[in-house]
């Protein structure tokens, strides 16, 4: 399964401060640590960055790719900042991911960028108005997004459908709906559509000691249903051990006694 490392997020105080001061070191350290832990993509979340978005994303992409030979997952709602990030990205180490578009009109330009820069893109199955009710609702939104991808020249293999993970503690039935959606999304195309989740949302609001347990078990169920990628914390060893073990059980990686070390 594809691991997108989530540690470089504007939500974290350390990252926010580093982005504010343009101090590359804390960001680079997090990128290197996630790379070593087995992340395939490094997420860089700068938030809306209304003041200096393009300049900030350009800087962040360059400082991160100075230290890791990995593609990045560019995470901002700011269209101009996204485009600056795509321009700055070194595709020698892989194609970047745009995080994200959805079925909300203000996010349509992200899909245009994916077409223009031949980038991968995460699409939240979230429409205008309310959150999706169930897996069927998510599939309907997914179909509209897929049509828009085709209009913009984005090949289906570049599109990652995200069923939108909601918190278990207040919307208990939505966990299972997201799992069903991951299974159903794949049937929307041949070869199957790729899928992704922002995992930790599932345990938002739950007590701190319970969160990792919810996260890991939920991830196991999602991978079983064919999840292609997850935005997770690769520095969480228990989480990575879960990913590796499920991959081995699913026959996606060959077993060896030391498989957890790889």
């Amino acid at each position: 399964m594809i691991v997108i490392g989530e540690k470089i997020s504007v939500i974290a105080k350390k990252v926010r401060e580093a982005l504010g001061k343009k101090d590359p070191k804390p960001l680079q350290e997090l990128a290197v640590a996630q790379d070593k832990a087995g992340a395939h993509f490094i997420d860089i979340s700068i938030g809306p960055a209304e003041e200096n978005g393009p300049e900030l994303m350009d800087w962040a992409v360059k400082v991160l790719q100075e230290v890791v030979e990995k593609p990045l997952c560019l995470d901002t709602t700011n269209i101009k900042a996204m485009e600056a990030g795509l321009k700055a990205h070194n595709n020698a180490w892989g194609v970047p991911i745009i995080n994200s578009t959805s079925n909300e009109p203000e996010r349509f330009p992200m899909m245009e960028l994916a077409g223009k820069y031949n980038a991968k893109i995460i699409a939240l199955t979230l429409g205008k108005g309310s959150i999706p009710a169930d897996a069927e609702d998510r599939c309907g939104i997914a179909a509209e997004i897929m049509a828009r991808a085709m209009e913009n020249g984005v090949p289906m293999e570049n599109l990652f459908l995200d069923p939108l993970i909601l918190q278990l503690c207040t919307m208990q039935d939505q966990g299972l709906q997201a799992i069903r959606a991951v299974k159903m999304f794949q049937q929307l195309n041949d070869p199957p559509m790729q899928t992704v989740v922002g995992l930790s949302n599932i345990s938002n609001g739950a007590p701190k000691h319970v969160r990792p347990i919810i996260n890991r078990n939920f991830l196991t169920m999602l991978i079983y249903e064919g999840l292609s990628a997850a935005i997770i914390d690769p520095l969480d060893k228990d989480m990575m051990d879960t990913v590796k073990t499920v991959d081995v059980i699913m026959g996606k990686k060959m077993y060896a006694h030391s498989y957890l070390d790889m």
Binding site: K252, K253, M254, Y255, A256, H257, S258, Y259, D261, M262
Partner: protein, 313 residues
């Protein structure tokens, strides 16, 4: 409508490994698709054929082999030169004389022969112990040091002795042959352990343990297939090492390469039959993805090279 041939896309690639130096250096590996599927990937290097030489005379080898090798067999240096003249890509020196049940030669004696052989040929050299895991550690250490700078393949490192053998290869800048017993998971495990002790995975050559036609060849074949699928489709870096098949030692122990014409008249003449046995075993391993073969009969080796030339196009 034009026919579109379905193609597999591979995410992984086999490492390339160079052995020896100069004009006669050999590079193996580098494949980016399952064996010889040229429409799906590239095969920059042809499989290399090594002919086997021992540090002792081949007294217990079958007559067909002894006849082919002739008087060269009495001296490892002459024998190695004979292999080079016979068109081998490499020489595989097996230090059989060091085995406690053989002549129990000392590591120093073995090292001296290894150095002499290395100096006498300009094709790359592979240095193999006798297969006695404990004795091999000392023998291979001494032989690796005596051939430092020759960029040899040293082996075989097995579960019982891999640390010392790998250290000897590392200290003397050689490549390493790592063998596990017909088990994909143990093959991967050994490569992980070697990597964890700091041995560069791109300097390992994997020996999945070979066999002879009719004597379990299909097990080797399917182990190799699974290794290549993991390497290429699952992009498993621990499975992306080139593969060596040590076939001569297995082939020339079976009845089909030894039974005289009179004993088995319905099997055809011994010499043709024996050569066919080794070359057919070799061609099966080549199609399974072998990057390097260790063979014994120059005639069978020549046949194997013909098969390789035809498959490479």
């Amino acid at each position: 409508m034009a026919l579109v041939i379905p193609k597999e896309t591979y995410s992984g690639k086999i490492y390339s490994i160079q052995l020896g130096s100069g004009a006669k250096a050999v590079t193996i590996g580098g494949a980016s698709a399952l064996p010889f599927l040229g429409f799906e990937g590239t095969f920059p290097n042809r499989p290399a054929v090594a002919l086997e030489v021992m540090d002792i005379a081949p007294d217990d080898w079958p007559e067909t082999l002894k006849k082919a090798i002739g008087s060269a067999g009495s001296n490892p240096v002459q024998w190695a030169k004979f292999c080079q003249q016979s068109g081998a890509d490499m020489v595989a020196l097996r230090l059989m004389g060091t085995h406690p049940d053989q002549k129990n030669k000392s590591p120093e004696e073995a090292a001296k022969i290894a150095a002499e052989v290395a100096a006498a040929i300009d094709i790359p050299l592979m240095i193999l112990g006798s297969g006695h895991a404990e004795k091999d550690t000392q023998v291979l250490q001494a032989a690796a040091a005596a051939t430092r700078g020759k960029n040899c393949a040293i082996g075989k490192a097995v579960e019982e002795n891999y640390k010392t053998v790998a250290a000897a290869a590392m200290a003397n800048d050689h490549k390493l042959i790592a063998m596990s017993q017909l088990d994909v998971n143990l093959a991967k495990q050994l490569n992980i352990l070697l990597t964890q002790m700091g041995f560069d995975k791109e300097r390992i050559i994997m020996d999945p343990m070979s066999s002879a036609l009719g004597y379990g060849l299909e097990y080797t074949y399917s182990v190799m297939e699974r290794i290549r699928l993991a390497a290429l489709l699952q992009n498993d870096p621990m499975m992306q090492t080139p593969i060596v098949c040590d076939i001569g030692a297995n082939v020339w122990k079976v009845k089909e390469t030894m039974a005289p014409d009179a004993e088995m008249p319905e099997w055809g003449g011994l010499e043709d039959r024996a050569l066919a046995w080794e070359s057919v075993t070799a061609s099966a391993m080549i199609t399974a993805g072998a990057d390097m073969l260790i063979m014994r009969h120059p005639g069978a080796a020549a046949k194997a090279k013909e098969v390789i030339s035809e498959l490479m196009g």
